[in-house]
């Protein structure tokens, strides 16, 4: 398993470095970009000595090396403008975005699995039908439309919740719903489907014939087996959850990284676009690796095969 995790991390780093080089090259050669004028001299660090030793000229590749080296060692994002203090800005904004996304994820996992189990256990009844229809509807509404409906109902119509702001917990209710709605609906559908699949299997009939309680069958047996595919679906939706986070940030004016990125695009500030892209890519890759590792731990089949492969070699 350690072998698997190590390979996964190394592969992710390789992909990240290559992709970021492509992005760096594109953003450097755009007319009006200042990234082409970045220097390669730092403050006398290791990379500086290497560059002077090899007599490196400032070109695309050496600029990229300098940029990445600065990001890794000092968390410093060069932008081509002297007055930008990008690092501090990006750190606070990323923290806010991560907070939002994590709240959304927890909401998706808890509510999604609960509602899915509820719908599956009451399948065929009106409750199941309502949950299915509502989740169908929310799954196909674009996040910003949902945000507008919510704002019209709760903020303009009923005047219950605030539209803007991010300091009090009450501010996070609407963004959380906006972020998680479509992924939550998908989770409910998948979880319901998987549990119904499990409940139709012979071992459940066997348990019932032995007089096991329905709740025990549902939670201890069916849900346990249905959990893995559900988590896999949530894992695949990470990217779309981030997209909804950006939309929620833009809508509710929460100064997270997505808001910053969209602002930067509208003002054509390529330094910020590059920095935001890099941070978002890193966050997503870390998310993916963590969820892969969790998946590997939770899936007995995968765990055994990976461990077996490791032991044999």
């Amino acid at each position: 398993m350690f072998r698997f995790i190590r390979n996964r991390i190394l592969g992710a780093i390789a992909v990240l470095l290559t992709a970021m080089f492509a992005v760096f090259a594109i953003l450097t050669y755009i007319p009006g970009s200042r990234l082409g004028y970045l220097g390669i001299q730092g403050s006398g660090d290791l990379l500086d000595r290497l560059f002077t030793f090899f007599r490196t000229e400032p070109n695309l590749f050496s600029r990229y090396v300098r940029y990445t080296y600065d990001v890794i060692t000092r968390f410093h994002f060069a932008s081509g403008f002297r007055h930008h203090n990008l690092s501090a800005e990006i750190l606070t904004r990323t923290r806010l975005t991560l907070l939002l996304t994590l709240i959304g994820l927890v909401f998706i996992v808890v509510v999604g699995i609960f509602m899915g189990t509820l719908a599956a256990s009451k399948r065929g009844t009106w409750l199941d039908r309502i949950i299915s229809v509502v989740s169908m509807l929310t799954a196909s509404i674009p996040p910003f439309c949902l945000a507008i409906y919510l704002a019209m109902i709760f903020c303009v119509g009923l005047r219950l919740l605030p539209v803007f702001g991010y300091s009090k917990p009450i501010n996070f209710i609407l963004p959380t719903i906006t972020i998680s709605a479509s992924a939550l609906a998908n989770t409910i559908q998948i979880c319901r489907f998987e549990i119904i699949e499990e409940l139709n299997k012979p071992y459940v009939r066997n348990l019932r014939s032995r007089g096991q309680k329905e709740n025990v069958i549902l939670f201890r047996h069916a849900l346990k087996n249905a959990l893995l595919p559900t988590i896999a679906t949530i894992k695949e939706m990470t990217a779309s959850i981030f997209v909804s986070t950006f939309i929620a940030e833009w809508f509710y004016a929460i100064p997270g990284i997505g808001y910053y990125l969209i602002q930067a695009i509208n003002s054509r500030d390529y330094g910020i676009i590059l920095a935001c892209t890099m941070v978002i890519a890193i966050v997503i890759i870390v998310f993916n690796i963590v969820s892969d590792i969790l998946y590997c731990i939770f899936d007995p089949k995968l765990r055994r095969s990976e461990m077996g492969a490791g032991n044999n070699v």
């Binding site: 992709a19 992005v23 509404i141 674009p142 507008i148 303009v156 990217a239 990125l261 892209t277 890519a281």
Partner: protein, 279 residues
């Protein structure tokens, strides 16, 4: 086979109704601007927020432009551009997926890993990078949306071709000495067309969302053009006083995405009898 699928689709009432509604939306988007009742771009500052009437079925906006005509012209942009990008994405994705599954080897591995990497990134980032590098025109915009959608199509087509690759009729065609091109176009393609059709429909729904989301975030189609998502962004400051200006484009976006999603479900049920029985 096709007739039976059609029969099953027609019997599915939800899918049929949503198909009719979606066709109505498309037809009215195509026809109404041609009739020339109102102009979508001319300003009438004396007619701001006109009451709902036959002349202005959806009232007028803050600059006195007729909302109905704007919605219809905007539908051409939103639905048309997303159709263009869907066609691009499905064509490229199908070709890539089929060839990578059928040929295998290094090409397959490369395609799979690139697809995995691209699909892990939010599509907004891809579209932004593409737009920034290519330009900000409408054609480039739909190309960018298409490129963000290619990996998922490729993965679906690839996995369904992989199931076919070792089928007996493929081996038979190989033994008969048919070329790879012949086998792929005549035998493989015919067996995955239902997957591709369902995928086309679901990609279309996703592209409509992508187009309107980018319009809403003000990085898609630029302002005087009445694209639906862009209209939401333009009228958003009026949400407290003139909520219907925001509500109408939102409703149209949600309605068309919902219709396409329901059509997708209907198609999947109609074309895949096994799944149909399962439900």
């Amino acid at each position: 086979m096709f007739k039976r699928a059609l029969k099953r689709f027609v019997r599915n009432r939800t899918a049929l109704i949503s198909l009719v509604i979606f066709c109505l939306i498309i037809l009215s988007c195509l026809i109404f601007p041609l009739l020339g009742f109102n102009d979508y771009s001319s300003l009438h500052l004396d007619q701001q927020y006109a009451p709902f009437s036959l002349q202005h079925p959806f009232s007028t906006d803050n600059l006195g432009r007729d909302m109905f005509t704007r919605m219809m012209v905007g539908g051409r942009y939103t639905l048309g551009l997303s159709l263009l990008s869907t066609c691009l994405a499905v064509t490229c994705g199908t070709l890539l997926g089929m060839f990578s599954a059928y040929l295998g080897g290094v090409f397959d591995k490369a395609v799979v890993s690139v697809c995995e990497a691209v699909s892990a990134v939010p599509y907004i980032l891809i579209v932004i990078i593409m737009e920034v590098s290519l330009g900000w025109g409408q054609g480039y915009f739909s190309l960018a949306v298409a490129i963000a959608r290619i990996p998922s199509v490729t993965q679906t087509v690839r996995s369904s071709v992989l199931k076919l690759r070792d089928a007996e009729f493929i081996s038979a065609a190989k033994v008969l000495g048919k070329s790879n091109w012949h086998i792929i176009t005549r035998h493989v393609l015919r067996n995955v067309y239902s997957t591709i059709l369902v995928r086309f429909s679901s990609t279309y729904a996703a592209s409509i969302v992508a187009c309107s989301v980018l319009g809403y975030l003000e990085i898609g189609i630029s302002s005087p053009t009445p694209e639906w998502g862009r209209m939401v962004a333009d009228y958003f400051h009026l949400i407290g006083s003139r909520g219907f200006l925001v509500f109408i484009p939102c409703l149209f976006i949600s309605l068309s995405v919902l219709c396409v999603t329901l059509i997708t479900h209907g198609l999947r049920d109609a074309l895949d009898p096994k799944e149909y029985l399962h439900e």
